[in-house]
Each structure stands twice: as structure tokens, then as C-alpha cells.
Amino acid sequence: MSDATAEASLPETPAPVASAPLLELEGVSKGFPGVQALDGVRLDLRHGEVHALVGENGAGKSTLMKLLAGIHTPDSGTFRMNGRDLVIDGPRHAQEQGISIIHQEFNLMPDLTVAQNIFIGREHRGAGLFVDDKALNRRARDLFDRLGLALDPAEPVERLTVARQQMVEIAKALSFDARVLIMDEPTAALNDAEVDVLFDLIRRFRSPETGVIYISHRMEELSRISDRITVLRDGRYIDTLETAATSQREIISLMVGREISGESRPAPIAGDAPVVLAVRGLSTKHLLRDVDFEVRAGEILGFAGLMGAGRTEVARAVVGADRRQAGVIELHGREVSIGSPADAAALGIGYLSEDRKQLGVLLERSVRENIVLASLKDYLGALGWVKDRRIEQAGREYVDKLRIKTPSTAQLVRNLSGGNQQKVVIAKWLAKDCDVLIFDEPTRGIDVGAKEEIYTLLRELAAQGKAIVMISSELPEVLRLADRIAVMAEGRLTATLDNADATQEVVMDYATRFTAEGTIAR
């Protein structure tokens, strides 16, 4: 890619050992009732290559992965590995053929230990039914030594951070002596430093016998890690490009099938806009220390920082989801007491959680029910009778206003794409008439086109005079949207920067200002 930075460039790709590609897919089609998920897709993975696979949600990437993983079988098409035909019969068989997959949603058993997770289904048997856990731990330790991973084989997975769970996933995949490693959005939950560790692992995994298929929504990463990029759209193969000879702009336009307007930074907002939310001296028992910030009407305040820096904790403490040890919260200049998210909502502070599916929407309920969920009181008649007609009206109003793509307001939220689910959550808080909206990772797991829409929406909300707090692990996103950027490290605020003064380097500098203890408090 033209915008690849020098430090990020890869070592020379090892020369292929054979003339046939490591993995070759041709004419692969797969239909589900009502959808043609894949239609004659092809892909060739060379030896020693990192091959990025991109496309919007619904483009067919996940289906292609599931075919390779042996979860589904293709309707037609051929798979070849090193020139030989390959038929994949079930997940275990795929692994035995040297195809290992790291799924986007982790496939770990939280109650088992690291080693037990890695070797599940391949346990060392002692006598008969007995499992030899010591041998498992030993094998896991050997594996971690080889990979240079700092993991404890005997630790239960539920106690690991997301980043470390990711490392367990990777170690598990590599423990199969994989030749083809497929990674689905491996960096979705990682911060920049952790992404570096991941890329380092990928580079070390690459050899003349192996290759990586890398699926990502994060355009910046492709230039750092991939050799070639294949674009899928609507289940069809679009193109394969050499990474060095293309640009983000070109890839994105191939993905969405249209040109996307370039990046821009927000115009500074008027300095005399009234402060809506002011937080002073916010501390919690475990992490936060003396966090001060304020958000003005019409402003987007971005929170940046490494994972574990305490950004989400700030939001949770403000809305009363976590207990505050100290701190004053002022709304429109008056001190308010917030003991629970219900208090916060009643005062007009909406919190949109990073974990949308768990904490944001009711997947099994309709779009309109979700939209009025927080403001249901306004739709009740005598004796708590629910006024369905008014709910339908409100639902339609917000579906139109936020351009939510759904056949009707009665559609179950489960059936919506990630971007549209996120819009439903936003609609819920708008229906509640909130002045302050706190977005935690608003674009996580959302494809590029839909991201743009969420960005536009955030801007529109700010323009309407809402005070917006946005927490994001994607620095370019923060730089692009936030008027001011609050940077956190180890539960402290290390800087509040005006957008004009902020660059990725400056923000990262503040984000890594650790205190003398040199550890992140847990």
C-alpha cells in the first residue's frame, strides 16, 4: 500500500518451495435457504504469504472460513492443497489437514485451564480414561517457549485478559502444526501494543511451508501485515491485489463498490458552548485515580488509551454501573447523584456498551421494542397498558431518522447487521431524549461502509447539541471524530488534547506514560 510506513514493512517473503500454491480454491459456491452466501469464489494462498481477505459484513468471508474449517460443506467448487485435491470432512479433519482457524468469537472454555483448552480433544491419556494434566502442562509450556508467549498453562482461561485469551487461541491453532492459519478479525479486541505482538507472532509463523489468511476490517493493518489482498463483495470474488501496489482508498471502494469520501477532521466547535457533563476527581477502588473531564454541548470527547487503561471503567463509574470511591458529577452545572445506570438514564445520560449483544440490545425482540425499551414509561396508558400503536410510530420515526436497514419495525434485532444493531441502540437512547451519550467502542465488529454511517450519525448528533463521549481502541477513529481527546494510562488521565494537536504518535506517547511501579493495577 502506498501509505505503508517504513517501520512496519515486512522482511522479505520467503520463496515458495513448490510451483503449486499452498492452498487454492476455485469456483466455490455455497447457498443457504434464501441466500447465496458464496458464488464462484476463488482464492490462492502462496507459500509464505499473508493473504488478506476483505469485504463488508455479508460479503461471504465467514462462510468461506467455515467451509475451510469443515463446519459447512460447499455446494460446488474445488479445494487444493499443494496441488492435491482436498476434501474437508469436519472441524477435526480440517485441523489434521493443517488448516487452523482462529474464530472472531473466541472458542475457549473459560472454566478450563490454558493447557486444557489448547489440547481439548487431544488429551494425553494415562491408563484408560485418565487424563495426564502434567503432561498437558509440559507440552503447553514447550509450545509457549517456542512461540515466546508469556502464558501460564495451569491458569483458568476465565481469569485471562481478552488479549491473553487471544494468545491462547493462537497457541492452540499453532499447536496443530498448522500449514494454513486463518485469522478472523484477530485484532478486534486488541490494543496497538498487543497488535504488535500478534503481528510478530504471524511473522514468526510464516515459513516456506506455511501461509496465513487474514481477515480484517481494519484497513491500516493490511498494509502492515499482508502481501496480497483479495476482495469479496456480495458473495462474489472481486479482485486480488498486491498490497504494495494498491491503496486503502482503492480497497475500500472495491469492497463497497463505490468511492468513499476521504478522511477529514472535525472543525473546532465554539469555545463558549455550555458544559453539559463535568466529572471531577473520579476514582474507583481498583483502577481509576482522579479523573477530570468535561464535555460541552455539540462536542465529541474521545477517550484513547491501551486496553486496561480504564476508559470503559470511566464510563461505567459515571453512569453508576460501578461503584465510585470519590468524584463529583455535574450535569448542566448542577451536581447530581448517580447510583445506578437507571439514575443516569433518568438524568439523560445514555451509555452504549462495548458489548452490544450482551448489554445493548435484546436480540430476540423486535426493532421497535428495543427502541422504546429505555423510555417505555412514555408509551404506557392507564394500568400500565402498553400503547402498541404509538410504539410502532416511534419505531418507524427512528428507523427513518437513523436510516436503520430493516424490512419493518417488527423485525427481530438478531436478524439485523452489526451496524444496524448499533443504530437501534442509538435510537433507544435518542428516544429517551438523552443530552449526554457515552459510546463505548461504537464501531466494534461493524464493517467499513456501516462505520462511515455511524461516524456521520455521531457528527449529526453532536451538531444537534448532544454532548458525546466516545471510547475507541481505534486511534484513527478517535482522531477523525473527536473534537478533544482524553488519553488514559493506568486509570489516570495523562492528557486532554485538542484535535489539532493530536497525532497517533502524540496520543500513543501519553497512553504509555506508566507510573513508577511499571505495572497496570488490576
Binding site: 472441524p91 473466541f106 517457549d145 501460564d152 495451569a154 488479549a163
Partner: protein, 347 residues
């Protein structure tokens, strides 16, 4: 990566900083981890001790060898049911058929031994296997037909209750052909004190179940399935087959409980059993096994079963009317589960 581990290690080892970092963490951790993991058992065990001490002070008739043995005897049948169902609950499932299933097994023991005149050993083995068949059917219904465990075993609970009555003609079956049958539960194996063989069998089964759960592939997959079933399947484990194995295992325990309870009464009673499954499940839950699956232990289940038996026995000894005993057990269940939730929230 995580700065916690990267920091100190880099100073002491340039070649592979991370490696030595986790070694250092490793040394101290297992002991700590084990301590934390067993906290809920410690809590349950502590409550058991508190209850025992209370009753001992309240009545001089409580803490006597004979009474302690009779508590163990009372705990045996429910305890064995609870052992088997612990495995099922750890997978995230439930087995409601164990109570009436046990009664049906008792009736079948009567059929094998009295109606058909089989030798004692064959009748007992066939009864246990019959329990296994009930479990096998449950397992197939759950994992092959995909019926939710609650419904599948609710159906089996009613079927077993009905079949017991049909097969026995609603009358008790006495073991007139094999008088030794009642010795299985009641034979006194320690001279001088009345220590029944059934209690010894219970203790052996505790050890067997504990080993199965913590040391074997069966237990490992039970935890794995309960922890994340989809991920377990994706890892190449045949989840369907292992679920069938685990329900069948629970069924074998049901068969054994059927033998012991019929032996204790010297007859197969075709009625009752309904509600016993809930007592067994209560014991499992008091012992800290999560109904969501993925967490649990045999030690916990045994403590849970003992707490219930001690309560029932102690309350009777201090002359609390029987009606109040189930109130007390109900409160214990609520308190135990609430404490467990508190503990989890904090960690």
C-alpha cells in the same frame, strides 16, 4: 503484551524475556489458584461444621456414633443420585428423572429377583444397567433429538413413575426369593457399631465419582461442554457422544441408588420418588455446582448432601416439627446460592 509480565523479566533474561516471566508467575500461582477454586467448598464445609456444632450443643443425642451413622445412612441414596447428576449439571444440563427413575429401578430389581428368580448378583447388575439404559435414553433424547434436558428428563420422570406402577401392579414387591438382598444396604460391616454396607458403598462411589470428574476424559469433557459447548464441538470433540455417555453415567448411579433404596426397605415400593430429584439437585447446588454448567465438584456435592441430611436429622432430634424441616432446607438453598453469587461477583 501485558506489561505486568514484560517488565521485571526483561532485566534478568534478554534471550526470551517472556519465558522467564511466566515461570516466575508460575511458581507461586497453582497453590493460590487452588485455594481460590476451593473457596466455595470451604464455605459449604464451614456451614456444615457450624450446623453440626450447633446441633451437638443443642442436644446430647446428636453427636453420637449411632446418630452420625444414621445421618450417613439417610444421606446415602440421595447422595448417590446427586453424585451422578453432578456430571449432568456440569455439562449445563439437568436430570429430573433420577427420582422416579430410581423407583423404577427398584421395581425392576423386584422383577429380576422375585418374579424372574435371577441370582442376586445378576439381578443387581441388571438393575444398575437398567438405570444406565434410562440415562442412555435421556442422553439420546437430549443430544441426538435435541430436546432440551429439562423437558427430555421431565418426560422420562413421568414415564418412569407410570411404568413403576404398571409393572408392579401398584403393589410393593418383596424380595422373598433373595433374602440376602436387604443385606446390600443394611449389612453391618464393622463389629460393635452399626455401620451399614450401603454407607461404605456410598463412600466408594464418592471416590469413584471424584476421580471420574477430575482425572478422566469424562469429567474433562463434562466441564468443557458446560463451559462452552460450541467451542468444544469445534475443537473436534464429539459432543453428542459424550453427552450420551454422561447421561448414561448418571443413569448408572440411579440404578445403584434404586438397588440400595429397595434393599433398605427390603421391598420395591412402586410409588414415590417424585421430589427426590429436587433434593439431589439441591445437594449439588448447595455444594457450589453451577446450574449454568462448567463449574462444580464432587466434594461440594457430598457436603451439600450431608448438610441436607444433618439438617433433617438435627431438626428432628431437637423436636422441630417435620413441616419446618423443608422450610429450613429451602432457606439453606437460598443462602448457599446467594453466598456463591456474592463470591463470584467479587472475584
Amino acid at each position: 503484551m501485558n506489561p505486568t509480565t514484560a517488565g521485571p523479566a526483561q532485566a534478568e533474561n534478554q534471550k526470551s524475556p517472556s519465558t522467564s516471566a511466566y515461570r516466575a508467575i508460575d511458581e507461586g500461582k497453582p497453590r493460590f489458584a487452588r485455594l481460590r477454586g476451593s473457596l466455595q467448598q470451604l464455605l459449604a464445609a464451614a456451614s456444615l461444621i457450624v450446623i453440626v456444632v450447633y446441633f451437638s450443643l443443642a442436644s446430647s443425642h446428636f453427636f453420637t456414633p449411632n446418630n452420625l451413622v444414621s445421618i450417613l445412612t439417610a444421606a446415602t441414596v440421595t447422595g448417590i443420585l446427586a453424585l451422578g447428576t453432578t456430571f449432568v449439571i456440569i455439562t449445563g444440563g439437568i436430570d429430573l428423572s433420577i427420582g422416579t427413575g430410581m423407583v423404577l429401578c427398584g421395581v425392576m430389581a423386584g422383577v429380576f429377583l422375585t418374579y424372574w428368580g435371577w441370582p442376586l448378583w445378576a439381578g443387581v447388575a441388571a438393575t444398575i444397567l437398567f438405570g444406565g439404559v434410562i440415562g442412555l435414553i435421556n442422553g439420546v433424547n437430549v443430544s441426538v433429538l435435541g430436546i432440551p434436558p429439562f423437558i427430555a428428563t421431565l418426560g422420562m420422570m413421568l414415564i418412569a413413575a407410570g411404568l413403576s406402577l404398571v409393572i408392579s401392579g401398584t403393589k410393593p414387591i418383596y424380595f422373598n426369593e433373595t433374602p440376602e438382598f436387604q443385606q446390600i444396604m443394611n449389612l453391618s460391616i464393622i463389629p460393635g457399631i452399626r455401620f451399614p454396607l450401603g454407607v461404605a458403598i456410598f463412600i466408594v462411589m464418592i471416590v469413584v465419582a471424584a476421580l471420574l470428574l477430575s482425572k478422566t476424559i469424562v469429567g474433562r469433557y463434562a466441564f468443557s461442554i458446560g463451559s462452552n459447548e460450541a467451542a468444544t464441538a469445534l475443537s473436534g470433540v464429539n459432543v453428542r457422544r459424550w453427552k450420551i455417555v454422561i447421561y448414561t453415567l448418571a443413569g448408572l448411579f440411579v440404578g445403584l441408588a434404586g438397588v440400595l433404596s429397595a434393599s433398605r426397605l427390603s421391598s420395591a415400593q412402586p410409588t414415590g420418588g417424585m421430589g427426590l430429584e429436587l433434593e439431589a439437585i439441591a445437594a449439588v447446588v448447595i455444594g457450589g455446582t453451577s446450574l449454568q454448567g462448567g463449574k462444580g465438584s464432587i466434594v461440594g456435592t457430598v457436603i451439600g448432601a450431608l448438610i441436607m441430611a444433618v439438617l433433617t436429622n438435627g431438626l428432628r432430634i431437637i423436636s422441630v416439627p417435620q413441616e419446618w424441616q423443608s422450610v429450613a432446607v429451602g432457606i439453606v438453598i437460598l443462602v448457599a446460592v446467594y453466598l456463591d453469587m456474592l463470591r463470584r461477583r467479587r472475584s
